[in-house]
Amino acid sequence: MYLPTAQLHQATTLAKASKLLQRFGSTARLLAGGTDLLVDLKAKRVSVDHIISINRIADLKGVTLEAESLRIGALVTITELDEEVAVREHYPAIIDATQSMAVRQVRNLATVGGNLASAVPCADLPPVFVALHATALLWSPNGERVLPLEQFFLGARRTARRDDEILTGVGIPKASPAFGAAYVRFGLREGNAIAVAAVAASVQLDGDGAIEDARVVLGAVSPIPKLATNASDALLGSQPTDDLFAKVAELATAEADPITDVRGSAAFRRELVGVLTARALTKAVGRARKEDR
């Protein structure tokens, strides 16, 4: 399995990368970690004449804790994200994902930007970030466009990124005190298993401990990270209980749109969505109540 003949361009600034993107259009692809792109090229799922490496663009690196949000650069690797103190302290749901994603070798290469921009339905970060109300930061020569992340995903491997745009990172709003989120996934193996089904959940509790705001986001069971609105809305205004979660789990199951493949049937995936929804909500509420980190 070899890579096709393609020219490698190493862009050092966003402007240069954008210019190259515009010049080559659909015959070019951006290269960051390469764990998706190189595999797709070898498997001939994708064919390109130009590969534009953005690995040398310094602006895309690093995690910054700003006043109202956490900004994660597109080139931050999964390992860097996992080791980031700000993330460890304030966003344990992200750690749920980083710890279960692929393996060391891939986590050291793969980037946050790639995990989002590739828009692979079973990717782990998209549902977590959607549950955390993240926004996609898109740069073009005309300026930065900020898009709620749930609007970034249009379909399997399709996003709202325009041809001249580069995903520079994501912004995640600062977590308020009674907020909790969690990510729970099911893989067939303990190590290095693609998610068969996954659920990210977040809850904001009010002063009485009732659910004020919530998101249930389904992964790997729909072409895009699916914000399960019926399930999310059913949580609002109620005290979190197992019975409520069971009801919400059923709603989430109905909102899943899974496929049958080598990893499991659609029916099995639906069943998993129910179980994982209840588990993710339980864990998220525990975190909101500071019972569990």
């Binding site: 390992t79 080598v262 099995f268 998993l272």
Partner: protein
């Protein structure tokens, strides 16, 4: 598009011309010749290409070389410091962290990166750090030990200060004359003789070899499962710059080949029909592999598509598509065996139970892909480097297809990265490389991609099994009948033997008064199934073990107890005339149930936890050769009738002593494929010579150097090759006897050799030291020199033939015959998530009767590897096909094998045993250790969930469906 990249590798900066599309792994291997970085899957699933970039492990197959310029790259060659192994590498050598060695460089690098950050990691941290490095041999147990005990090998903190040099032999091999009188080579846990090379990246596998002027070949496969080849146009491929030759079915010999002589049914390339997806139709040779791959896409093939059949039952129907003209109703092999009165047995039974079980399509998935390099000498000798476990059969088959004498074929078996039966036959790579090389007059290398390995197939036969058992009130077996349909795929391969094995080995474990077996090996439009670890037996054994446990529950008898009551004992003849010598099966049962605290756990664990038992055993070498008659070009042979004896010795060895008497070279063609045969043969030969193992070197890789050995299959090497090497050693001692007697002034018959000394039997030396020879003895080397002075070369030979007359006289009686049989019992403990069906295999306890172990470290390594491989195939593995016969998961992210995180904790124990027919009392361990595993896992899951899954693999989905079905039955009203 070439540019110069400055690559910083292992502290050196190299200016390398790279193309945009060159991945780091290819540049390291092909341009810098750092072949310690391996290729296994090319898409980041297996981890054998792991390198450190700025100290972090990454997959070199997923990185563009040009994109990593100016980052600090460390490969396995850069780990050892100033020629000294690091403590971690030493730990891998000593703790059994290495077997085939193909995963080892990546594993060592991942562990090195971990220890640099976390000097004393927890076991969870180790597992997380190594989960990206697949291993198929060790069961990860030796690897866990190696990393967690690394501290013990740290001498004064830095590797530069240690006393171990890379070339030095460790432990049993560390002194040229061990000072301990008790020092012995056999029975000690000696580290592998090749471990040092494997942990440092120096071991050379076939794909690591580059010959001058070498070119590369690739094979084009069919896109359809069944069809006629109407037309092939190769002109566009031939016109591609860099393409040197294209061959199709019309260019290959009109000679069919295969494994079983009665069923040769494969052509090198399709001459008329294609019978499975990716069946070989054409091949390209080009200046590099990339060009050859590109040229495949330019070959135009027109097919007349035929209906395909993928199910063995449907294949047997009257109107099913006929895959081969010669196999009517697609029945490749039919076995009909009956012993005793089966019907009477059922009629007299207190309880009869009938169940249907289904196996799965398992693929060996060794980490090293198959590879071959062919080159022809000017005198017309074919030199073939092949990643094979059966060099002799490859030689035999090459001779058959190419119509040249065996003597004109030299097979070289470089280091092999695992086989498990998947490398037990001649491949299209061997044959096409030879044909191309002949045509081009240049060496030709051909390597399978991971996907091509799956399409080449030869994995375990999927078996559909209907079993019926009758027992008396006490659970004693009265009668047993089985009907098995084996899904054979499109060619015979090993299938004839597989079909017989599926029946013949079951009666070696429990006494069957009456036994009937009907087997049908069916042709289907899938890649051919072949021989895999346990050949034909694991799935029937799984089914039988499950059935026996079900029957025990039916009767209220403990599952261990029912096994005890039916267990085979020493010196028994089975119902199908297998001659069982030593048998300590009962001891394994007793030991395993005690160690695992069976009585305190069975049916006493909390919900979702389960414990189960499974037993099994296997042959210690096939009693008969795969082909009949003598070693001779098969075209020259007449049709030969079967004789109930071995025509020629199955294992042969030569020992040559160096002229100074200081070294012995052992030459034997036994195939080291990672299982450790080079090491145990070294031990046995050294023991019989009376010298320390450190003075012996083994040459097993070259048919020009080493005499015939049938190879690594049917768990034959320890017993058969072990005898040959021991006898060769004894032959040397016999030659030295008169010279020693002269020097010692004793009678010849009194001379003994041990530990590098010769002495009179009643005057065994004391106070042996490295520097001096005790007065009542003489140095072994001194005696050898005296011999050389008078006679010239000191050479000894040894050979082994299985005993004459093995087996009965009924049809198929040869399959399953063996000089000796192994036995084992395993207890498995699992946790099952009852909401998702997910199984975690927590623990395995295994006791085996492998005779007297030659090397306990190697024995436990085989058991640990078999437990994980067996558990993995029980719960995870399955090659899946769509309705057109295309494989849906021909890769290591779709076909899942266990990672280090999935592997259970394993206790491996041995019971005392001595096999009179084995060398030093030894039997086999490699395959028998797989057999108890599947049933034990299935039983434990049934125990945890309350539902039996009789259809492999036992996936979470099947468990959940069964639990739901049970719930529906129990609460029909509420639903």
């Amino acid at each position: 598009m070439s540019s110069v990249a400055n690559l910083s590798v292992n502290g050196q900066t190299y200016a390398v011309a790279v193309d945009s599309y060159d991945t780091l792994v290819d540049v390291l291997r092909d341009k810098l010749r750092l072949t310690g970085t391996k290729k296994g899957c090319s898409v980041g699933d297996c981890g054998v290409c792991t390198v450190l970039i700025d100290g972090r492990p990454m997959n070199a197959c997923l990185m563009l070389a040009a994109d990593v310029a100016d980052r600090k790259i460390t490969t396995i060659e850069g780990v050892a410091c100033e020629g000294q192994m690091t403590p971690l590498q030493k730990s891998f050598v000593h703790e059994g962290g290495v077997q085939c060695g193909y995963c080892t460089p990546g594993m060592v690098l991942s562990a090195t990166a971990l220890l640099d950050r976390r000097p004393n990691p927890t076991s969870d941290e180790i597992k997380d750090a190594l989960a990206g490095n697949l291993c198929r041999c060790t069961g990860y147990s030796g690897i866990m030990r190696s990393v967690s005990r690394c501290e013990n090998y740290r001498d004064n903190g830095t590797c530069a200060k240690t006393n171990h040099s890379l070339g030095e032999k460790q432990d049993g091999r560390s002194d040229y004359r061990p000072s301990s009188r008790a020092a012995t080579s056999v029975g000690v846990p000696m580290p592998r003789v090749d471990a040092g090379d494997k942990v440092t990246g120096r071991a050379i596998y076939t794909d690591d070899i580059t010959l001058p002027n070498m070119v590369y070949g690739k094979i084009l496969g069919s896109p359809i499962a069944h069809g006629r080849v109407k037309r092939i146009d190769t002109s566009k491929a031939e016109a591609l710059p860099g393409v040197l030759a294209v061959i199709t079915g019309k260019d290959v010999p009109d000679t069919q080949y295969g494994v079983s002589p009665a069923r040769y049914d494969e052509y090198v390339l399709a001459r008329d029909k294609v019978r499975h997806v990716e069946d070989e139709v054409a091949a390209v040779a080009a200046i590099d592999e990339r060009t050859a791959e590109a040229a495949l896409e330019l070959i135009e093939v027109e097919y007349e598509e035929l209906p395909c059949v993928l199910d063995p039952y449907l294949a047997a129907e009257e109107d099913a598509p006929q895959i081969h003209d010669r196999y009517e109703r697609n029945i490749n092999t039919h076995v009909a065996q009956s012993f005793g009165d089966v019907e009477q047995g059922f009629a007299e039974s207190f309880h009869v139970r009938e169940e249907t079980f289904t196996g799965n399509h398992i693929y060996q998935s060794p980490l090293e892909p198959h590879a071959s390099i062919a080159t022809w000498d000017h005198d017309g000798t074919l030199v073939l480097y092949s990643s094979t476990q059966v060099p002799h059969y490859v030689q035999y088959m090459m001779a058959h297809v190419l119509h040249i004498p065996l003597g004109k074929i030299r097979v070289i078996r470089p280091t092999v990265g695992g086989g498990f039966g998947g490398k037990a036959e001649t491949t299209p790579l061997d044959l096409c490389a030879a044909l191309f090389s002949k045509k081009l007059g240049r060496p030709v290398k051909m390597v399978y991609s991971r996907e091509e390995m799956f399409h080449h197939g030869r994995g375990r036969h999927k078996q559909h099994m209907k079993f019926k058992i009758g027992v008396d009130r006490d659970g004693i077996i009265r009668s047993f009948a089985s009907e098995i349909y084996l899904d054979g795929g499109a060619y015979s391969s090993f299938g004839v033997a597989t079909a017989y094995y599926a029946g013949s080995v079951l009666p070696t474990l429990y006494r069957f008064p009456a036994y009937k077996y009907d087997g049908y090996r069916m042709m289907t439009n899938k890649p051919a199934a072949g021989a895999m670890r346990g050949h034909g037996v694991p799935q029937p054994r799984f089914a039988f073990e499950c059935l026996l446990s079900m029957v025990a529950d039916d009767l209220g008898i403990d599952p261990v107890e029912i096994r005890r009551r039916n267990a085979m004992t020493s010196n028994s003849m089975t119902v199908n005339e297998m001659d069982v010598g030593s048998c300590e099966f009962l001891r394994t049962l007793e030991a395993v149930s005690e160690k695992a605290k069976w009585d305190q756990k069975y049916n006493k664990l909390p919900k979702g936890k389960g414990i189960g038992i499974g037993c099994g055993g296997f042959v210690s070498g096939a009693g008969y050769c795969i082909y009949r008659g003598q070693v001779q070009l098969s075209h020259e042979k007449g049709r030969e009738s079967f004789q109930k004896k071995s025509i020629f010795p199955h294992a042969n060895a030569i020992v040559k002593i160096s002229e100074d008497g200081m070294a012995a070279v052992l030459m034997i063609g036994a195939a080291e494929i990672g299982q450790g045969s080079d090491t145990v043969l070294t031990q046995m030969c050294a023991e019989s010579l009376g010298i320390p193992a450190s003075r012996l070197r083994i040459r097993s890789e070259d048919s020009d150097i080493s005499p015939l050995d049938l190879g690594a299959y049917s768990s034959r090497v320890t017993l058969m090759a072990g005898h040959a090497v021991s006898r060769a050693g004894v032959a040397i001692v016999e030659k030295l006897r008169p010279y020693a007697a002269g020097l010692l002034g004793c009678d010849e018959s009194m001379v003994e050799a041990h530990n590098g000394l010769m002495f009179a039997r009643d005057a065994e030396p004391e106070g042996v030291s490295v520097d001096s020879v005790p007065s009542n003895s003489v140095a072994w080397e001194e005696v050898a020199r005296k011999y050389f002075n008078d006679n010239g070369p000191l050479v000894g030979t040894g050979a082994y033939k299985p005993p004459d007359g093995l087996g009965g006289s009924y049809k198929g009686a040869t399959v399953g015959t063996s000089p000796a049989y192994s036995f084992g019992s395993a207890v498995c403990e699992v946790s099952v998530d009852l909401e998702t069906g997910k199984v975690k295999i927590d623990k395995f306890t295994d006791y085996h009767d492998c005779g007297t172990p030659i090397n306990p470290l190697a024995v436990h390594g085989q058991v640990e590897g078999a437990v994980v491989m067996g558990a993995s195939e029980t719960v995870l593995e399955d090659v899946q096909f769509d309705e057109k016969g295309r494989i849906l998961n021909p890769n290591l992210h779709g076909y899942l094998t266990m990672t280090i995180k999935d592997a259970p904790e394993i206790f491996s124990g041995l019971v005392d045993s001595y096999e009179p027919r084995g060398p030093f009392g030894a039997k086999e361990i490699g395959e028998g250790s797989t057999l108890p595993v599947l049933g034990a896992v299935a039983h434990a899951i049934a125990n945890a969930t309350g539902v039996w899954i009789k259809d492999l693999p036992i996936t979470p989905e099947k468990i959940l469906n069964a639990l739901n079905a049970k719930k529906r039955v129990q609460e029909p009203a509420s639903a």
